[in-house]
Subunit: 409 residues, 2 copies
């Protein structure tokens, strides 16, 4: 007997046919005494259709965050009821629960809620009655009982948090890829599916641009120590298990993956006086606008005049706001000027194995150098090394670095 | 200052444009210190579309009553969120509440729930904050918090019950007609809109075929003594107020209305032995199948043989089931045979004024007789008299009787 939480995203339940397929698959795989909780997102385009309706009332409906949550939570409520009917039509006992009924308690930050607590008694009661329990992902309720959505990646977070609260044996996230790869398979032909990866590495890869899992759900998994099995909706092959520590040796892999991100932009503030508080004045102004700054390099332009250049990267989507903030700060600081570069990209290697392996960075830089790819900025964390390069070299860089660390054969 | 509950049905909120119109109308009519609660149904075709989805999962989804409720309650949740956004976009403070959040507690009879209790504290709190409160009609929740729908006419019932629990000054039901008429205006050109009508008369008229208000909501109004103002979504004219007693004299109206029903069928069980228990054996068999029997006449066929004919009417939709039941009972009773007549219709007059006015029935029969319309069966209640006639004479009969009691000019 095992208690398993399975999560299916919107594309897995995009039509009533797909909903039937999900139900059939779960019934086929279910052990006689298994207890199964299924977390689902809204059907395919439902959310977009609901937003479109709201747009007809007001061109910017998201300013009514509570009402958007009231509206959007109906999407999952439709899919849980249909999936439950599908189970019942197959002769299974099943029951649907909204996030609220499943005991998922959130703060009151509508459209971007955070789970504060899960009181899963109802879920446990329904499992004890022999039901497959179908829970609406992406949603919970605040203290008043009002529906609150969890923001991006919310359904994964619901599933992992619910698995934690239920002390589930595993949490399976079904997606349109087969697991976590050593690099994006669309870019690197020989990318390898990893059997396991640690929470830390997964979080670092997500931060550095790997898109399979939203960081929040991984953080919750780590916090509650729930292994997360990322696998395909369309095959029965095992995927990748994200967990605290490796349970098996995967020989020769000193790093876990190569990540990349081409949605970055570089900002250089040139010739600022090198006084204490300069970095603070620029970065606190950016922080006020909720702009995350990533790679930061401060280099000396002119020792005699004591002026310096400050170089950093931001997400492309934040660039226009960041530029306004930085232009103003640069003016206040009497900087020489501000340079923007949009055609940059970041390539990174990630792996807990690189701690205490000083040769790793050199191998990465060497591989890029051999291919004639210039490194603009370098940054490192405990378990990653990132290089900023020209976007035009990104695909080649990812392949070269992957070949260096995951040689074919 | 007044506390007003207003209910708008699905056709009044069928599109986002109509939703904006409802919001504008309410804002225009709202007194400065008025407290307004708006009860809405699902948008136009939403419910049908949701049922269609469920039909793709199972050809008979209504057997999964709890899941149908989970599915269908999303319809009103969409309309309350959109209407609330509409109010906000007009600069009003507003908040949406599902039936559950509004404190509407029901039994657990899914798809046909009954309101057990309303705990309106949240509604009162939101009104005190200066909000227009938009409540999902047609729904509440059971003891577990599971969504339950109220069945036919459910949104009217939600509105009236909520008005009662809030001790509202009035409950306005907006519909596509302008009020309650002395006869169906599609049949009787000179039908008059009544200013007032009592709960009893309205219930009797509904029972006898007048379709404007579902009986349940009227019963709730009577129970809680809430005046119900039935009026048009499309004009500002006053409609009809349903209340306990008349507050004004409407001269000369000894009856309140002429109702009709052509969805009836007559069943005659011929030549049954006239022994005690015969009626019981037929009607208890019908009751077991939940078939309501309406007009009943027992007449003697042959005194010497002591056999009798038993004639009664049922709703057309129950006829085929009723026939099966009656055929079996007639066989068991050694009756001569069973006759079915489908081309019959019922015309009725209703009014508390006829109590103690013995001439009323005579005037009705006389009017029909003068027009050469034969009366097949007659039945009476305290406040109504009904005649079963041929369906082909129905339209003429309704007009003749209406002219008798509501002479033109």
């Amino acid at each position: 007997m095992a208690l398993i939480v399975k999560k299916f995203g919107g594309s897995s339940v995009g039509t009533t046919e797909k909903i039937m397929n999900v139900a059939k698959r779960i019934v086929n795989e279910k052990g006689k005494d298994d207890k199964v909780v299924v977390v689902v997102s809204a059907m395919g385009n439902t959310t977009d259709e609901l937003i479109e309706l709201a747009n007809k009332i007001d061109s910017n409906p998201y300013k009514y965050t509570r009402e958007m949550d009231m509206l959007l939570t109906t999407g999952e409520q439709v899919s849980i009821s249909l999936l439950t009917m599908a189970f019942k039509s197959l002769g299974e006992k099943a029951v649907s629960l909204t996030g609220s009924l499943a005991g998922i308690k959130t703060n009151a930050v509508h459209t971007k809620g955070k789970i504060l607590d899960i009181k899963p008694q109802r879920v446990l009661d329904e499992l004890d009655k022999g039901n497959i329990v179908i829970v609406a992902g992406f949603q919970g309720c605040d203290q008043l009982g009002d529906p609150v959505t969890l923001g991006r990646g919310g359904s994964d977070t619901s599933a992992v948090a619910l698995a934690g609260a239920l002390h589930a044996d595993s949490c399976e996230i079904y997606t349109d890829v087969e697991g976590i790869y050593s690099a994006d398979p669309r870019i690197v032909k020989n990318a390898r599916k990893m059997k396991e990866i640690t929470y830390y590495e997964m979080l670092e890869m997500a931060r550095l641009g790997s898109g399979v899992m939203q960081p929040r759900s991984v953080e919750v998994g780590q916090l509650m120590n729930i292994p997360i099995h990322v696998r395909s909706t369309f095959t029965n092959k095992p995927g990748t298990i994200i967990r605290e520590e490796y349970t098996m040796e995967e020989k020769g892999f000193v790093i876990r993956g190569v990540s990349h991100d081409d949605k970055v932009a570089k900002i250089a503030v040139l010739g600022v006086p090198n006084n204490p508080g300069i970095a603070y004045s620029i970065f606190s102004a950016l922080a006020e606008k909720s702009i995350d700054v990533d790679m930061i390099v401060q280099s000396i332009r002119n020792i005699e005049k004591n002026v310096t250049d400050m170089v950093f990267t931001v997400a492309s989507e934040d660039l226009s706001t960041a530029k306004e903030v930085v232009d103003k700060a640069a003016g206040d600081l009497n900087a020489i000027g501000v340079l923007i570069e949009k055609d940059v990209a970041k390539v990174s290697i990630v792996g807990v194995g690189m701690l205490g392996s000083p040769g790793i960075a050199a191998r990465m830089f060497g591989a890029l150098s051999k291919a004639g790819i210039n490194i603009d900025v370098i940054s490192t964390s405990e378990i990653s090394i990132s290089c900023l390069i020209k976007s035009s070299s990104l695909k080649e860089a990812v392949n070269i670095i992957h070949n260096e660390f995951f040689p074919e054969g």
